[in-house]
Structures are given as structure tokens and as C-alpha cells.
């Protein structure tokens, strides 16, 4: 076992054994360690060099421990499909080296899967509406498209998807253009139609190219249900190119079964970035089609706020998917969601969108103060309007988050 120990560990062992003067490592073992450490060296020089090496390693261990303390932990939390992973990808693109070709190519299968799954949901949905809806005729497809639909539905139910080729792309495209499917898509909130649908369906030709390499935007739109925890470490590059804080960002799965894994991450968190998709006030959960998504987010936010370990943690609330919200709110009134049942529209167009947004923001604010005990009122709470797919918005938003956290640090150090 000792053979497998790395250099560092060996030094530590020797150190420790010297401290405890042989009382738990026997003499032979210690000798072996020392021997290993002085391997490849002249025995006459062994002692001094060994000391130098040990000192060097000790210094590095100390440095790393100190550095760990300065790393600020950021946690991305939120319900499923709230945009956490998209923010995660954006940060990767902004502050790390982004995606290399291999990584980009790894998304091809994800995008294919998204396309097959989506068209299947739409096709199955159209059949359901055709059966149950009063106005059934508008959900009935043309006969050729029905054939295509059955074929694609079968493909979509497999575990392994075929690579999207020109033929399939054309078939999917035809099905997508069918008015029955478009009518179904208009009622997409009643099904589990993902937000990337329109984007991918309009790009089928490009995506089915034999040499297709996904663009950064494609990768941002690609939807994979996160499971487990993913992390990256980064340092936002400031104006003067000086490295500022060091952050470690954690992304988690948002669905209910994933949330039990969250608790392991809750210690020592500098800030929670809570993502709430404000467009989903008329949608239901993937994991529970009886539950309204906004209500789920409301309860989740409440739960997170009350966690004991977040007593001093800053909360950044990202009211996300504003781009989709903008288009929806003028057509679907907010009061379909129980939480927003007291909403009164005041005008039209842009003004109304702003008014609706402010209403939602206020609701979240109220919830925050209700769920925050008096002794926690001093923690930072800020609300940001985001569209996670827009890199500029994410960059600017993160700049503000960074500024806030840095000021908070100065404040806590008594320097402000």
C-alpha cells in the first residue's frame, strides 16, 4: 500500500511519524518511506535535498489550503428547466476556454435526441387533442404526415437514436409544418414541449448535415436533464485584466428526485443563484403533470430560503426566460397561475410587459421577506432579469453579481 502513496503523502507520513516518535509506524516502515523519498539521489546529498523537498511540499500544501478558503462557492439552484445549466454553460464560455471541438461534437447526439423527443411529443399530443378536443379537426394531420408521424414516434421511443440525416430532417420538417402540429405546438404548455423546439425545428437542414459541428448557440439551446452535480472553477476577468475573485460554480439537477443531492452542497456557500423561469406560469411539471411549475418554484424558493446553512448566504434571484415571457404574457394572462391570481393588467404592449414583470418580481420579493427570519434580513438579496441564452445579458448580469459579492466581502471585512 505504501508503494502506491504519492510523494506528498509519503512526506506527510514521515512527518507525522517523526512527531509521534515511532509510536504508530514501525521503524521499518519509516525507513522505507525515507528510502523511497531519497530514491534516485546520492546518499550523501539525501538529507539536505530531502529537507528542501519536504519544505517545498509543505509550503505548497499550506498555499493550497489558504487558496481554498478564498474560493467562493456559488450554487445554481432552481426547479427543472429553469435555466441553471444554460447559465453554467454561459459561464464556461465567458470565463473559461469555452467548448473545444470535441466537446461541441459531443452535443450532436444530444441535439438529435432533443429533435426526436420533441417531434414525438408534438405528434402524440396532436393525436390526444384530436381525440379529446371539441374542435378535433384542426389536430388531424394529412395522411402522408400521419405515416411520417407514426415512424418518428416509433424512433422517438427507442433508447438509441439514429443520427439525423437529410431524409429524416425533411420528414421531420414536413411534419413540423403541418398545421395540425402547429396547432398542437400552440398548446405546448399543456404538454412537455421543451423551449428549444422552435430553434431546432427551424434549423433542421443545417443540423442534419453530415459534417455538422454544433455552434455555441446550438450547445446553449441543447437540453439535457442534469443529474448529479457539475462544477467549474473560474475567475471573472475584470476591466484591468487583473484576476478578481475565484469562484467555484456548482450546477445541479432541478427535478424533484435530484433535490435530495442538493443538501450535500449547502455548506459554506457564498451565494445561491436561484433560477426561476418566469414564462412557465401556465405549465406543469415534467415529473408531476398535476403541479403548476410556478407554484413548484415558489415552494422551492421558500424551502431554500429557510435552510439553516444559508443564514449568511447571498441570494441572487435570476428571473429567467424573459424572452419567452415577453411573447407569452400579452396572450396568456398571469392569473392562470394561482400565485398571481390578483394580477390586474393596466395597459398593453411594452408597458404591460414591464408591469407584469414588476408584479412577478414583487411577488418574489414578498416571498423572500416572508420566508426570511429577522436575524437574516441583512443578507444580500437581489433580483436580476435574465435571458440565459443571451451571452451579453449573462455577462453583464454576472458582472453585477461579482461586484455585489466583492462589496459584500469588503463590508464583512469592515472595510466599507
Amino acid at each position: 500500500m505504501v508503494e502506491q502513496l504519492g510523494f506528498v503523502a509519503l512526506v506527510k507520513l514521515v512527518e507525522v511519524s517523526e512527531e509521534h516518535s515511532n509510536d504508530f509506524l514501525n521503524f521499518d516502515l519509516r525507513a522505507f518511506c525515507v528510502g523511497r523519498l531519497s530514491k534516485n539521489r546520492q546518499h550523501t546529498e539525501a538529507d539536505t535535498e530531502e529537507n528542501a523537498q519536504t519544505a517545498e511540499i509543505e509550503r505548497r500544501i499550506e498555499q493550497e489550503t489558504k487558496a481554498e478558503k478564498h474560493i467562493q462557492k456559488l450554487l445554481l439552484l432552481g426547479a427543472g428547466e429553469s435555466g441553471k445549466s444554460t447559465i453554467f454553460k454561459q459561464i464556461k464560455l465567458l470565463f473559461q476556454t469555452g467548448f473545444d471541438e470535441a466537446e461541441l461534437k459531443s452535443y450532436v447526439s444530444v441535439i438529435d435526441a432533443n429533435i426526436y423527443q420533441t417531434i414525438k411529443i408534438l405528434y402524440d399530443g396532436s393525436k390526444e387533442f384530436a381525440q379529446n378536443d371539441v374542435d378535433s379537426s384542426k389536430y388531424v394531420l394529412s395522411s402522408e404526415n400521419q405515416v411520417i408521424g407514426e415512424k418518428l414516434s416509433e424512433i422517438g421511443s427507442r433508447l438509441d437514436y439514429p443520427r439525423l440525416d437529410k431524409e429524416l430532417a425533411e420528414e421531420i420538417g414536413n411534419l413540423w409544418k403541418d398545421s395540425a402540429i402547429q396547432e398542437t405546438y400552440a398548446r405546448g404548455n399543456e404538454l412537455q414541449v421543451p423551449d428549444c423546439t422552435h430553434y431546432f425545428m427551424e434549423s433542421l437542414q443545417r443540423l442534419s448535415d453530415a459534417n455538422y459541428v454544433p455552434t455555441k448557440e446550438d450547445v446553449l439551446y441543447a437540453r439535457v436533464r442534469t443529474t448529479g452535480v457539475v462544477e467549474i472553477q473560474f475567475s471573472p476577468v475584470g476591466e484591468n485584466k487583473k484576476s478578481g475573485e475565484v469562484y467555484r460554480l456548482f450546477d445541479v439537477g432541478g427535478q424533484r428526485n435530484e433535490r435530495r443531492k442538493w443538501i450535500h452542497l449547502f455548506e459554506g456557500v457564498t451565494a445561491v443563484i436561484f433560477c426561476a423561469a418566469i414564462n412557465e406560469y401556465d405549465q406543469t411539471l415534467f415529473e408531476d403533470e398535476q403541479k403548476n411549475r410556478m407554484m413548484e418554484t415558489k415552494e422551492l424558493f421558500d424551502w431554500v430560503l429557510k435552510q439553516p446553512c444559508f443564514e449568511k448566504t447571498s441570494f441572487m434571484l435570476f428571473l429567467n426566460k424573459f424572452d419567452i415571457f415577453e411573447k407569452k404574457v400579452l396572450n396568456v394572462p398571469l392569473n392562470v397561475c394561482e400565485w398571481f391570481k390578483d394580477y390586474q393588467p393596466v395597459s398593453t404592449g411594452k408597458q404591460e410587459i414591464e408591469h407584469a414583470y414588476e408584479f412577478i418580481k414583487k411577488k418574489f420579493e414578498e416571498l423572500y421577506f416572508q420566508s426570511t427570519a429577522p436575524d437574516r434580513v441583512d443578507r444580500v438579496f437581489k433580483v436580476y432579469r435574465t435571458t440565459a441564452l443571451d451571452q451579453k445579458v449573462v455577462k453583464k448580469t454576472f458582472k453585477l453579481v461579482d461586484e455585489t459579492l466583492r462589496r459584500r466581502n469588503l463590508f464583512e471585512a469592515g472595510l466599507l
Binding site: E239, N240, E354, E358, K361, K362, E365, E366, Y368, F369, Q370, P374, V377, D378, V380, F381, K382, V383, Y384, R385, K396, T397, K399, L400, E403, T404, R407, L416
Partner: protein, 445 residues
Amino acid sequence: MPMYQPSSRREVDSSQVLDLETAVKDGVLGGGGGGVITTAAFASDKLDLKIMIEELESMDVPTVFICPISLEPMHDPVTLCTGQTYERSNILKWFSLGHCTCPTTMQELWDDSVTPNKTLQQLIYSWFSQKYLAMKKRSEDVQGRVKEILENLKKIKGQARVQALKELRQVVQAHGSAKKTVVENGGIGLISSLLGPFTTHAVGSEVIGVLVSLNLDLNSKSDLLQPAKMSLIVDILNEGSIETKINCTRLIGMLMEGTDFASENIASLSLLVGLLRLVKDKKHPNGVLVGLSLLETICSHESVRSSFVNVGAVPQLVELIPGLTNECLELVLHVLELLSSTPEGRLALKDCPNTIPNIVKLLMKASENCTQLALSILWAICKFAPEECASLAVDAGVAAKLLLVIQSGCNPMLKQRSAELLKLCSLNYTTTIFISKCKLTRTIQ
């Protein structure tokens, strides 16, 4: 009659002025006292002495230029036979009242003629001209600088923008003329446009620092009252240094003045919580005063009161009471009184254990207004929950205080109220017990 003590400054001033005269005659740029005048300017502009004296009011005029009678700079100095110089109109008035003496030396005048002191008059004129032109130049410099900064702000970003705004703020705070320039050159609109959802704290706090020193018209105010900008101002209030907090608070106060706003939009929970934090900061009494003023203004709108109570305002404000200045006490009491008009407010007041003791102490203590407000609050609570509150109030010594009010010179409304409250508090006690509880002195008994 105040005697003018010739200060050592006189020597310096005279020499400065003499140098100036020579300089002006020779057409050489003068150096003393700051500012530059050219012969052309001096010769052509028939500057009105009266106007200059008015505009230079704040300047330290050399004592030798001041008339001993009126203590004002002289326009037309005349000298008496004693050698003392006065403003012509003043000394003639003195003579017309029948006096034949020199006011400062008290000597009998052997010669009642007044000689115009042309030299002094010239000197006064030159001195004021020099100061006036220097001030005008400085003002122009300032105006020029302000225009420059405003032009720059249209182009620069990042750290440079922050620096420019900082400089603008300093100039505007130091020079009144700068304010006018900013307004006239569309400065308000320009810097307001810098406030948005992505504005950094650094930029935002400087912009607010400038805006708060200016006179904002109705359009500018409506622009700033937009929800996105208001959110930013509130965020900056919550995160900023004490100066920034005070600026934000004052700016919001300015915006609320005279605008017909919908209070629900302005008084967000974040703002209310931020203001509470500000007023609790005893280390910065300026902040406390400004914060309480804004809270008072906000609470004058009914719709806000219950939200304010819900964020725990009442116990925090009650805790604040001991140790406040009279001015702040009035504000705090007014806020509490406004809150007591809501059911949640009354409940919160009743539930807070220190309400009654702290407020009873204020009766007849600070000012009549305070007493009136304190009485109002006590009345509201005691009416709301007489069994609980009456006994607490009595224990806190309210009875003696109320009797004091009744016997004092306060207005009759107050006395009436005190009597009613006294009656309310005494309802559960027999007279003897009540009197004993009052701990009254025998005379009052």
C-alpha cells in the same frame, strides 16, 4: 459703536491692491488674490459696484473698505477732519441727527466739511472688480469643465466613466453655477440614462450623488420613477456607504415630492427594509434623520402601511426610541401613529413589550407634538386591547403623566384626550387602588 481693529491683514491687502493698480495701469496680468484681468476688460466693462458687492457677498472684504457706521462696503467714501472715513450718506445722516462729532473717535469736529476720498474709492472699485472678474472666470471654468465632462460621458465607459461622474459630482457640490450648467446642457437626462438594470454600483452611486444636488423637473422625476430605475436606486441604497445611502434616501424623497405617484410602486419591501436598516444605524445620526423623514412620507400612504408592519417595522422602531433627538422622535412617533391606524400595526404595537414603557416616557418630555403623537398611539393600543394594555400603561406610570398633561398649558384637544385615556386606564381599578398605582405625590392627589 464697534471699533474696527486694524488687522494685520490690512497691510497685506493694501499691498495687494497697490500691486493690482500698478498691474492694471501697465496692462500686466496681476497675480494677487487669484484670477486674471486684462486692461481691456477693466476699461470697457463699466462694472456696477453695487452689483459686484451684492454678488461677492460672501467674500471677506478688507476692513479698511467698510464704513464704521453701516458696516457695509463704501460706495462713496468721505473723510472727516479727524481723518476717519465714512460712507457719505451715513455720515450726513449722522450730522442731520444733530451730532457734531466723529463717530469713531468721539472728537468734536472743528471742521464740518467732508472730503471725498477718491483714492479709497478707486481702491474699493479695483478690489471688487478684480474679485468679481476672478469669480466670473472661475465660474466659467467650472461651467466649461462641466460641459466637457458631460460631452465625455456620452462616449466613455467603464472606470473612466466612474471617474468622470465622480468629478462631476464634486464640482456640482462645490459650485452653484455648475448646477445650472448641468441642467442647461441636458445633463439630467444624460446621467439619468446611465441608470438601468445593468448599471454597476460604482456608476449608479455617483449618478445619484449628482442628481441629488440638482433641481429636478417633473419630467426628470417621472423618468427616474420608472420601476427599473427605482429598483436600482433601492439596490444601491441597500449596498452603499453611508453617504450613498443618504443620497439615495434624499433622492427618493425628492422624487416623491410633488409627483402623483402610485406609492405601491415606490415603496417596495426592499426599500422599506433598507430604510429600517439605515435608521437603526446609531453611528450615523444624519442617516437616521433622513431615513425617518422618508419613512414618514412613505407611510402617509395607506396602502404601504401593512406591508411595512409585516417586515417587522414596529418592534425595530420602538427599540429605536430611547436616545433619539427631538426631531427624530417626532418623526418616529408620527410613523408609529400612522402604522397604528392599521389593524396589523395595532397588533404589532401591542405585542412589542417595549412599546408602552418607551412611549409613556415620551409624554410631556420632548415637545407638544411628541406628546400628542404619543397620546394618539397609546389611545389606539389601549382601545384595541384595553385589558392587557391598560395595566401595562399604568405600571409604566402613565397616570401621573396624563395628569401632568391635563394640568399643563397644552391645547385643549390634548387635555381631552388625556382625560379619556386616563379614564380608560382606570376602568379596571377601584379608585383607591388606582391612585396608589399612580405613585402620585400628595399634592397632586
